[in-house]
Symmetry: C2
């Protein structure tokens, strides 16, 4: 197996910098759009293990990536809790039954992954089997706080007003939701590992909407709970907008910290690079540019991280539908060739 | 005159912490909505100096704030350049004629504030006169980069795709726009000061969408140009999402740095509090909470900044239409009473 991702996460020396891309199976790929059309919708695609495995492997057929990631959604857990996940055309995720009263919050319980989330575990098994050991498979979930954001608000939001209302007026209710979510995420990630995921990642997409003190209380402390219960695979924590809190994220017990593109890689390296591996952090918008520009930006990112072990190349956020295929090709190729040179001759 | 804001910006000791709120004349105030209805639209309100002065003074009639801010929009300059600013109902600002080709960019020129932006200068004069010396008047503009974002994209955006496309593929064009914008913003702020503004603020709302290196190249360097040309009033720079770059913002030549709510105030104080005054940074969402919670959060912010001179209390972003009047009352009252105590007995 190509285990370069696993070695980089363990901060062991590697011949080159491993690379994968958040949302690498996505709408920028025509073959993805074809399979999605066949499935009928994003959610049906994610809930049909054979098709989920099919799209998870599509980017690997095009690009020499060093990892596959489970094709799924960050919000499967609240869906399994009965909140009714759906996607309105051209919009983000929504819930039919967001948490609107204390009774609903009191009733909330962690789902049994082997029952309500069986389709995800089947997708993990099918994807792992289809990979045939070529590269490691990454499993994932939304973080407890990010799940709570959608569960309370009912949709994405610029200001997460309902969530903040609860946070300020009834923090006890928010803590109750987060307790259940942390339990659920830990069970879910353990089940993914059991089913074949070799790395797990927590997507804390909305932790960055909090103050520093709130981030510790409402997001990071619950991610720590998850991490302390998920032992059997390396754990990556990614808080978008969390650049101010890298030291505490690095001290959460995870093996690697994901960085968004606002973070200066050299500074991140100095701050926490000795304690954990770092993943990131090319601006996804670069992939709308011509290949020569992409290569230039890739080299900037690689130079900034430096030649020491413990870097996993990725974007600073998910790839967009506007990414050019030739730009992605250039990215993956440049990471491989330039980082090989960088590691062979660090100066 | 109540000059406590000016003294705080000069980091001189004050009896209490001055307070004003970004977008303090706004839709959370019924009297604002009444005047706006009379004007017909936000833009007509902003373009009618007598009404702009009227709404600028409304929050002062309700709350003992320590500053007034010009009622205007951050995008008046590109409107004066002929791009055609408008607001679709329930949406953010848009331009009828965004910059879509090289010819339009080549034609771009800084407007003459005393001609195309005369209505703003009249509003400054009317507001200053109506204030009768009670509190200082703050003038403002969008930053060169934030103006460019809307000028290129044509509207607000989650990813500023068109802007990033230009940044990566044709940085020369973006620099040309930013050169013109920096000239225009400097002329405009100088004209505002000439007309009576006693403090000026640069709103760099979208600088935080850049990488660290791009922020320096495309946003901060042009704000430095502006600052170096605007001498006659204290200058506040606010980059939303700029918490990672506080040291370089503080070294830009400005008197004060605005902080969004993600930044830990104590840490900001340690990093740059000895060099500039700090403004911020209560989460605007707090103002949806009951007054007792607001007071608690205000005390947290004041404690975190500490008793040393050089703090201007504000929100970490503009006040929203959902702010409760009783919450704003509690905020302003708590800042005054608690900071008076804090400064009298720092321990």
């Amino acid at each position: 197996m190509n285990d370069i991702l696993l070695r980089a996460l363990a901060r062991q020396p590697t011949e080159y910098t491993p690379v994968w891309l958040m949302r690498q199976a996505g709408r920028y790929l025509p073959e993805y759009n074809a399979t999605r059309a066949k499935a009928g919708s994003f959610l049906k695609l994610a809930k049909t293990p054979a098709l989920a495995a099919e799209v998870a492997l599509q980017p690997l057929a095009r690009f020499p990536l060093d990892a596959a990631i489970l094709f799924s959604d960050i919000l499967t857990i609240p869906d399994a809790m009965g909140l009714g996940l759906y996607f309105a055309e051209g919009e983000g995720p929504r819930f039919e039954r967001p948490l609107r009263d204390e009774a609903a919050i009191a009733r909330l319980a962690a789902p049994d992954p082997s029952a309500e989330l069986r389709y995800v575990l089947d997708a993990v098994r099918e994807t792992r089997s289809a990979l045939g050991g070529r590269v490691p498979l990454i499993g994932f979930s939304g973080s407890p706080y990010t799940l709570a954001c959608y569960m309370i608000q009912g949709s994405g939001s610029d200001d997460w007003r309902r969530v903040k209302e609860m946070l300020y007026a009834r923090p006890d209710l928010l803590h109750r939701i987060l307790e259940v979510n942390a339990r659920a995420v830990a069970d879910y990630l353990n089940a993914q590992v059991e089913a074949g995921a070799q790395v797990v990642m927590l997507f804390d997409t909305w932790g960055g909407s909090l103050t520093a003190a709130q981030y510790e209380e409402f997001s990071l402390s619950y991610m720590r709970k998850v991490i302390s219960q998920v032992h059997k695979a390396p754990r990556i924590v990614f808080t978008k907008g969390g650049g101010g809190w890298l030291e505490s994220i690095a001290a959460s017990g995870c093996e690697a910290v994901g960085l968004d593109w606002n973070v200066d890689p050299g500074e991140a390296r100095r701050r926490i690079g000795g304690k954990v591996a770092l993943q990131g952090n090319l601006d996804p918008a670069v992939l709308g540019a011509p290949p020569a520009r992409v290569r230039e930006q890739v080299r900037n990112v690689l130079d900034a991280f430096g030649a020491a072990p413990g870097h996993v190349f990725n974007l600073g956020h998910g790839i967009t539908p506007f990414a050019r295929i030739d730009a992605v090709e250039a990215l993956v190729d440049e990471v491989r060739t330039y980082s090989t040179r960088l590691r062979a001759c660090p100066d």
